[in-house]
Symmetry: C2
Subunit: 164 residues, 2 copies
DNA sequence: CGTAACCTTGACGTACGCGTTAGAATAAGA
DNA sequence: TCTTATTCTAACGCGTACGTCAAGGTTACG
């Protein structure tokens, strides 16, 4: 309804290279407040800024937000836990960046192993959830068939009452 | 560590027919406060009481608490939503109780259908979660194999450095 | 250069889900 | 009966995850 500044008609490379907080909020379906809040809490690495102080997010930041929301909604993790995982991701990025600079090899291997361990723990959490959810589902389906059985007997009864 | 009152040695039928709040709390791994809180909020039907006012829970109440916890932890539902579902369950019990007393047939059928609908919605929620979780899992497994690849190249490099 | 749309940093407010403490009553073994 | 364990209600407190102003700067179109 309100016409934006960066209207369009000129898909220059700079046009969608960086996003302001409003666009990120729209695309990720979270509020601007939430984005700033995540930054405060260390879940989002502080984005670059425009000269005037406006935040400029990257596509990677958008993916980060989406991942945070998944971890929150699907796994039910607290932001504190999610922060740990985000930091593990950061370690991986760092490793990748240092990949050619020759740091201590064994240390790097240790970090990689740790990153793997963290990720495997996430998978384990997911597996637990999956198993529990499958069990709940079959329970519920059982209930449904039971109640459907009742419904059927009621149908029969009305049939009888109608003298069928 | 502290020796309970209802020690044992006499498994009379009344012995485990009803449970006090402390035992329920232990068995369900929630606090007594939480049990009273759920009662306040209408998630638990007020249990019977001992003459002195002590709450006496049934095994069914225990199952209720466990179900509440599942809905909360696995599906991430708010207590308000869980209350709705609990009420749907209550409707089902009521139907079962009225099964012989001849109330309005069509009304009963409507209630049953509603109960089925509620349960099916729960199943749908679970299905969504299942799909999303499976996707997350494969993403994470993908990441793991990637990082394991890095690890392997590092292993090779140390081998080279050692002149193997 | 005005002005509308967008952004900034505080800072206080809020809904949810209990935790905690206080003070008193009850229950049941010794 | 005394004592210790358990429970009761009431009420205030707290951590999480943001919501909601307030007051003011920035950007960019016209």
């Amino acid at each position: 309804m309100t016409h934006k500044r960066s209207t369009m008609a000129d898909p220059t490379p700079s046009d969608h290279a960086y996003l302001q907080i409003g666009e990120v909020a729209e695309r990720t379906s979270v509020t601007q407040r939430t984005l700033r809040f995540y930054e405060e809490k260390g879940l989002l690495t502080p984005p670059s800024r425009l000269d005037g102080g406006f935040r400029l997010y990257s596509e990677h930041d958008v993916r980060q937000v989406e991942q945070i929301k998944r971890l929150q909604n699907l796994l039910g993790l607290a932001l504190a836990d999610i922060k740990e995982m985000v930091e593990a991701e950061a370690v991986k990025s760092q490793i990748r960046a240092e990949y050619r600079r020759d740091a201590d090899l064994s240390e790097r291997k240790a970090k990689l192993s740790k990153a793997i361990a963290v990720t495997e723990r996430q998978v384990a959490i997911i597996d637990h959830k999956l198993a529990a959810l499958r069990e709940m589902k079959s329970d519920l389906e059982q209930k449904i068939t039971t109640v459907q059985g009742w419904l059927l007997t009621l149908e029969e009864r009305s049939a009888v009452e109608l003298g069928v």
